[in-house]
């Protein structure tokens, strides 16, 4: 499927919200994916992961355990941007998604054992563009996005939106 940048962005945004990501983080993931659609397949893997309560240690920068990369990467990028001495995400490996998020936020990610270090980077941002998306991947995104939709009832259909049921005038 040939998908516009905005279609991809909106679908990823809704999918992220569908799994319970806060909206600002969902927006950033969406913008990152629009610039790096090659990471979409692995995004689906990340979307399927449970969102746990993370723990934070700020003593020498930022050290996170139980991170969900889509939710917590942004705090790491903030810390790296502010030149924190060390930003470490425990138990997360480097993948297309971490690379896409990093490129979007102007940081880099480096694997260190089973952990991921986040550092400031000077690489230029990638430019969003139209892309080809595999239909099954799009379908999976739609499934997550659908978690934000509210089923219609007869009552909501009548009062929830505008205009008349027929408009012959």
């Amino acid at each position: 499927m040939n998908i516009s940048e905005n279609e991809l962005k909106m679908m990823v945004l809704k999918a992220c919200r569908g799994i319970g990501l806060p909206v600002a983080q969902a927006q950033e993931v969406a913008a990152a994916m629009a610039a790096s659609p090659w990471a979409l397949k692995q995004l689906l893997t990340q979307l399927a992961k449970p969102i746990l309560t993370a723990s934070f240690d700020f003593s020498i920068g930022l050290d996170i355990k139980n991170a969900h990369i889509l939710r917590d990467f942004w705090a790491c990028a903030d810390a790296a941007y502010l030149a924190s001495p060390r930003v470490c995400i425990r138990g997360v490996s480097s993948c297309d998604v971490t690379e896409a998020l990093a490129r979007y936020r102007g940081v880099s990610v480096v694997a260190q054992g089973e952990d991921l270090l986040v550092m400031v980077d000077e690489r230029p941002m990638l430019k969003p563009a139209r892309c080809e998306v595999a239909p099954d991947e799009w379908q999976q995104l739609e499934t997550y996005a659908a978690l934000t939709y509210v089923p219609e009832t007869d009552a909501s259909r009548l009062v929830g939106a505008g205009a008349g049921l027929t408009d012959n005038d």
Binding site: E7, P22, Q25, D78, Y81, Y149, V150, T153, G160, A161
Partner: protein
């Protein structure tokens, strides 16, 4: 090149301006996007051609109109089909329309016309390409269309009363842009001359659709309408909740629109006014009075506002003359005087006052696009964020959200049509899937959770990530004070119609005809120059507020 520095008064405070009730009282102005478009068409000396016309005697078939703007050629593809009356609904649940349109990048050849013929009538169910810039559909005002056809066929008098009161032959029920259903992203065209401003491609679509409706009625009627009548026929629009969230989800863009308008007013308030401009204002004040007299709608609440506004306008402008206006501070005094009246009067006065001052105002239209997204300042301290909350966010932090009424409504997206809806939180299901338009409530929650916190805000957000959006929006208020609607958008009394009117006034809509708190009909481009005016070089940028005999 000479640099100009404009004198200006103080901007009106966002606490006063960004309230729903005031946004719901806005009028079109010379900064409205359709006005910017027609100025562009006039300055470009654009002409419209019709390279394809395959419409049968009943008015069904396809047509293509082409126009060059800023060195690029764009075409409106139009297709009309017979529609059973019971299928004619303006709601988003509709699956068929009298007409469907695509604004095309370039001039479509036969194979592209075939592709568009297959897909445009499907609208949301169709699939489009990067060559397609906007997608739209419209329903006829059947009564007016049929009456004009009958008049043209019989040679009897045109139904001028209906033409004036309805004001359009078709009304669009959606105009999609920016990548929807596969069409081109705005990014593809945002740097093109003439299309840099917000919604310029959509406005061009609307203006060309209007041209098509004129040709269509003449074709079916078998003779021509006088140009003076065609100018009175704009293009209608029926707009519901789908439009409302845009203002909330594009805070920096909203700021740009509002600050340009407020800056324009601030410049005009202290402007030197010569006799020519003063006389223009007097003439325009009479046009306003006539427009208000001709603006009659069925809804009793809104009609009573119009009636009140007629009286207020008469009082504001009584004794007005070019000599009176040609004095220092005359305009500023009028603004103060208008503030004794309703918000409708105040906002009408603002739009009126801007009208003769193209030299001070029109350049601001170039500042109304805003490509930036919200960004976090992670280094800001919790203390500094609290100060911003105190200074800018009383509209949110002072709401008592323990009252059920304060969060009685919730926004959501319907599963059936993927469109925004609004529901009652305490009686309807779905609030657990609420769309995040409850900005005041989010800011209120942020303020609560921020109590007792210290250190940089990024550390707070690492631990409480749900507040990231609220922090971004609060921080943005420092440099973008018009970025937020300063009201509670989930309050039991919140009326989405106010948000619709704000956005539509920026489009250039007039004759708001609210059908409920959720949707409205409007008229666009009534009085605007025709394609033939452009061709003849007689098009003028003087069509603010349509009246029957300009």
């Amino acid at each position: 090149m000479k640099d100009f520095v404009f004198s200006q008064a103080k901007l009106r405070h966002p606490d006063k301006i960004m309230r729903l009730s005031r946004l719901g009282a806005m009028f079109p102005s010379r900064l409205s996007f359709l006005r910017s478009l027609t100025r562009q068409l006039i300055s470009d000396r654009s002409t419209v051609s019709r390279p394809h016309w395959n419409i049968d005697e009943d008015g069904f078939g396809t047509a293509v109109y082409s126009v060059t703007v800023g060195g690029h050629t764009y075409s409106l593809f139009s297709i009309t089909k017979s529609l059973e009356p019971e299928m004619r609904t303006d709601r988003v649940i509709a699956e068929a329309w009298d007409a469907a349109f695509v604004l095309y990048d370039g001039v479509p050849d036969a194979s592209e016309i075939e592709r568009l013929s297959q897909n445009a009538p499907l609208q949301e169910a169709g699939r489009f390409t990067q060559k397609d810039l906007c997608l739209s559909r419209a329903n006829k005002s059947v009564r007016l269309f049929d009456q004009i056809v009958a008049s043209l066929r019989s040679g009897t008098g045109l139904p001028m009363g209906m033409i004036q009161s309805i004001g359009y032959l078709m009304r669009t029920t959606a105009v999609y842009g920016n990548g929807k259903f596969g069409i081109a992203d705005r990014r593809e065209i945002e740097a093109r001359p003439g299309l840099q401003g917000p919604f310029m491609a959509e406005m061009l679509t609307v203006w060309l659709i209007r041209t098509f409706t004129h040709d269509l009625v003449e074709h079916v009627g078998g003779s021509q309408l006088p140009d003076i009548v065609k100018r009175q026929l704009g293009i209608g629009n029926s707009t519901g909740l789908g439009m409302a969230p845009f203002l909330v989800s594009h805070p920096l863009l909203l700021h740009s629109w509002m600050v340009c308008r407020e800056t324009a007013l601030a410049r005009v308030r202290v402007a030197e006014i010569d006799l020519e401009k003063a006389a223009q204002l007097v003439t325009l004040s009479r046009r306003v009075a006539q427009h208000l007299l001709e603006w009659n709608i069925p809804d009793p609440t809104h009609q009573s506002r119009i009636v009140k506004l007629r009286n207020e306008w008469a009082n504001l402008t009584v004794g007005l003359s070019a000599e009176v206006l040609n004095k220092n501070s005359a305009l500023d005094c009028l603004i103060y005087k208008s503030e004794l009246g309703s918000q409708d009067l105040q906002e009408l006065t603002v739009s009126w006052m801007l009208e003769p001052f193209g030299d001070l105002v029109d350049g601001l239209a170039e500042c109304m696009a805003n490509p930036h997204a919200l960004a976090l300042d992670p280094a800001m301290s919790c203390d500094d964020l609290r100060k911003i909350l105190v200074e800018h966010c009383g509209y949110a932090t002072e709401v008592d959200f323990t009252s059920p009424h304060a969060s009685e409504q919730f926004w959501y997206v319907s599963e059936a049509k993927l469109e925004p809806r609004i529901g009652k939180r305490h009686t309807e299901l779905g609030a657990d899937r609420e769309s995040p338009l409850d900005i005041s409530r989010q800011i209120h929650a942020l303020a609560q959770d921020l109590q007792g916190q210290s250190g940089p805000i990024w550390q707070f957000l690492a631990q409480v990530p749900r507040h990231r959006l609220a922090v971004q929006r609060v921080q943005a208020l420092v440099h973008n004070p018009y970025s937020e609607i300063r009201d509670n958008l989930v309050d039991g009394e919140m009326a989405p119609i106010d948000m619709l009117r704000c956005k539509l006034s920026f489009f250039g809509a007039s004759k708001f005809d609210p059908k409920s708190q959720l949707w409205t009909r409007i008229t666009l481009a009534q009085g605007a120059p025709l394609a033939s005016d452009l061709a003849a070089g007689t098009a003028r940028d003087d069509w603010w507020l349509p009246v029957s005999a300009p």
